[in-house]
Amino acid sequence: MTGPGVAGQETGAYGAIPRKEDARFVRGQGTFVDDISLPGMLHGAILRSPLAHARIISVDASAALAHPKVEAVLTGADLAGRGLAWMPTLSADVQAVLATDKVRFQGQEVAFVVAQDRYAARDALELIAVEYEPLPPVIDARTALAEDAPLVRDDLAGRADNRVFDWNAGDKTATDAVFATAEVTVGCDMVYPRSHPAPLETCGIVAASDAVTGRLTVWSTSQAPHAHRTLYSVITGLPEHKIRIVSPDLGGGFGSKVPVYPGYLCAIVASMVTGRPVKWVEDRSENLMSTAFARDYHMHGEIAATADGRILGVRARVLADHGAFNATAQPTKYPAGFFHIFTGSYDLQAAFCEVTGVYTNKAPGGVAYSCSFRVTEAVYLVERLVDLLARELEMDPAQLRMRNLLRPEQFPYTCPTGWQYDSGDYPRALALAMDLAGYQELRREQAERRGRGEYMGIGISFFTEGVGAGPRAHMDILGLGMADGADLRVHPTGKVVLAVSVQTQGQGHETTFAQLVAHELGLTPDDVEVVHGDTDRTPFGLGTYGSRSTPVSGAAAVLAARKVRDRARLVAAAMLELSPDDLDWLDGKWRVRGDPDRGAGIAEIAMAAHSSLELPDGVEGHLDASAVYNPPNLTFPFGAYICVTDVDPGTGEVTVRRFIAVDDCGVRINPMIVEGQVHRGLADGIGMALMQAIAFDENGNCLGGSFMDYLLPTALECPSPELGATVTPSPHHPVGAKGIGESATVGSPPAVVNSVVDALAPFGVRHADMPLTPANVWRAIQGRPVRPDLAVS
């Protein structure tokens, strides 16, 4: 089972091998940030605003400072004295580190206590007196642009309202023309509610500043350690070469560990102030209330078609709630992420979307929660619209999709908003999913059950993802191009160390990347050690999010390995006293053409390169190589999902009975890990569709601030998924792989919602917003749907 290529569909080192990293995790020997303890380490705690919007009159920390175990207290005024009260966000806005003028959301950071232990730090928070003058908050995004709306960001010069941006994509004129003449148009309002990635490990940091060497060492929960290093340098003025970021084992991330958060900076400053290491780890309420929200899109979508079901165009108008600071983590050029991939998987004539971002008195964030930069919202919109169209036309939704899916011969395909899909065979994937599901039989069963007064739903979604950001002509984050490096060291005995810029949060990089390199060099994955998560030991790159590790960093690793292989050819030729042209790479070795029993593998060649062998031209001594990969395009994984639900209309309870998922992510390096990624995303989608949402009451109180209120699915809500695969290689990736980390999160929510709405069709329900809690389902049946972003009333 552990041999290369035994269990997998590929030859060489690819295949479903167990993970190398598991040895430490099953023994409880992982090292997460809160596991790190340094001599003399202090503990930080953050005092947060209880109010959503208020002016700060005074902050008095004298009683806290008098606590015998308190070493320091930082306030906004202290940070302002260092020029650090505000920091840049990932979207070119600024965010308060510790509030100086106003608090702008409930949970905003107001003061930072540093004490000898975590219990004392927490106690001391109660000794800080803050006087607030409450201000009316902006809670409902739909009223944020009203003339009388309070101004959230009066700190920004020249800002007269709560508008963050207006942005659009596509051809408005052409789209309006299509809609004006279409035989059928259908529209719908839908909310993708505010959500939170909620990795099981919250965010945290241990900051150790050394006044003598001027070095700052940071252990933190970071999906992007190199980007964090650059950001810390820019923010603090510390020279970048004096900063080392270590991202140890991460207990999940899902996008939430991409940004730099105020707590990190507070810990860094506190370490500088006290001269001692300072640890700060969020509690769960802090995590849910102040860092990393996602989604919060209020959308109106429309779809136009012919009477016989030919889709012609889509258009959308979106109101995006960005909270108090625009801290969205995504490529700079796209304020709505990749939302304009909302044309989906269909062959249509025209599309246009416009997005308006607004400030509200809610937590900042807008992270890519396994959503590939708003592809989740886009897919949800178009897949709900297609189902609405099917209902309008009284067509089977599978048939309608099959009729309109892009055909294999249309690839590479440029969609009406400009994305160039690299490869795909969509009808094959949908046909496979329908086959696995027994689709026609399910429809027959549904009809039978309806006759008996039982409500079963069948929901389909077909998605196209865009992952692997990204081409540097279009994509950067704060001016940093989205390329990633790989360094490969080949030791004399042929063992290899690969250093990469990306950082796993559970995706299994130590295994998959070892397989990638082993595959190229005729080695086993055990011959390859993967180093990551330490900026002193790895090349620069932008990190792991948006399913970019295999598409970008994986490609860099492969290119570095191929450089090693090319150099090994020269050495092998010298060893065998032949011309390099006489050698072929075959079955993991350079072999003599016509005499394949003669040849040399990487281990022998590496030793020779280090030996007294007279080195050929082009070889300086050893086989080490580096590469930086600039992706020419995104990769476009896709999939067809079918969800079967049972709904109890008397109680509103939804049971997900089956989930069939066919994914195509190109070549699969480790199919076991790929399937694990899909399992995760399906659970995520079920969670978002059925229970995960963060609402706010009229005063701006967060109503999802703990795991009692922000519900995550358990093993009892998640079905045993039925997976299928098709393989359509990416034509531009070195091994034909595409990203997979987020496909299921993107694809599954509309399948669940389509299924529940399908179940409720006999009640005349045509749409219901997530989360489809029992209450929301029952209210949908009553024709009185709830607003998922506000307090239930």
Binding site: V26, T714, A715, S720
Partner: protein, 165 residues
């Protein structure tokens, strides 16, 4: 306040504040960082350890309540170098990704199998329903526990066969 407890077979005595949570005694005082915490409200189960003979959420137990009792954590699951079948199952079946929930999940799985050596998939799901995993969608955790059950049944069968023969 003095507290004496046996963790993974080793007796420890510490002087602690009565409010100290068991999870913090284990992690901060005893250096056993394999047990994690993930919430404040007894919902996530990352902190599950055994107190005497049953798994509990150690973020909701005071250290002083464990006085005179036995605690089993992930660090005590293996028998020396030999992994518990549950640990083997998790690695074999890709029952973990980030590894953060894994110690608690494995301790519950061990308890389940001690009481029910042949659980159904539903019984496994029910047993772990107070513990959150954000990575696996639970599917491979269920498979891992069933793998361990089968492994132990085979071992048991082999032992019986050996004894009889």
């Amino acid at each position: 306040m003095k507290v004496t407890l046996t963790v993974n077979g080793t007796e420890y005595a510490r002087d602690v504040e009565p409010r100290l949570l068991l999870i913090h005694l284990l992690r901060d005082e005893l250096g056993l960082t394999g047990s994690h915490w993930g919430c404040d409200t007894s919902n996530c189960g990352a902190c599950v350890v055994w107190l005497d003979d049953t798994p509990v959420k150690s973020c909701t137990v005071l250290a002083v309540m464990a006085d005179g009792r036995r605690v089993l954590t992930v660090e005590g699951l293996a028998n020396g170098a030999s992994l518990d079948p549950v640990q083997q199952g998790f690695a074999q079946c890709h029952g973990l990704q980030c590894g953060f929930c894994t110690p608690g999940m494995m301790l519950t799985a061990r308890w389940l199998l001690n009481n029910n050596p042949h659980p159904s998939p539903y019984q496994v799901r029910e047993a772990i329903s107070g513990q959150v995993c954000r990575c696996t969608g639970y599917e491979n955790i269920v498979k891992a526990v069933l793998w361990a059950a089968e492994y132990e049944a085979a071992e048991h069968g082999a032992a019986e066969h050996g004894a009889g023969g």
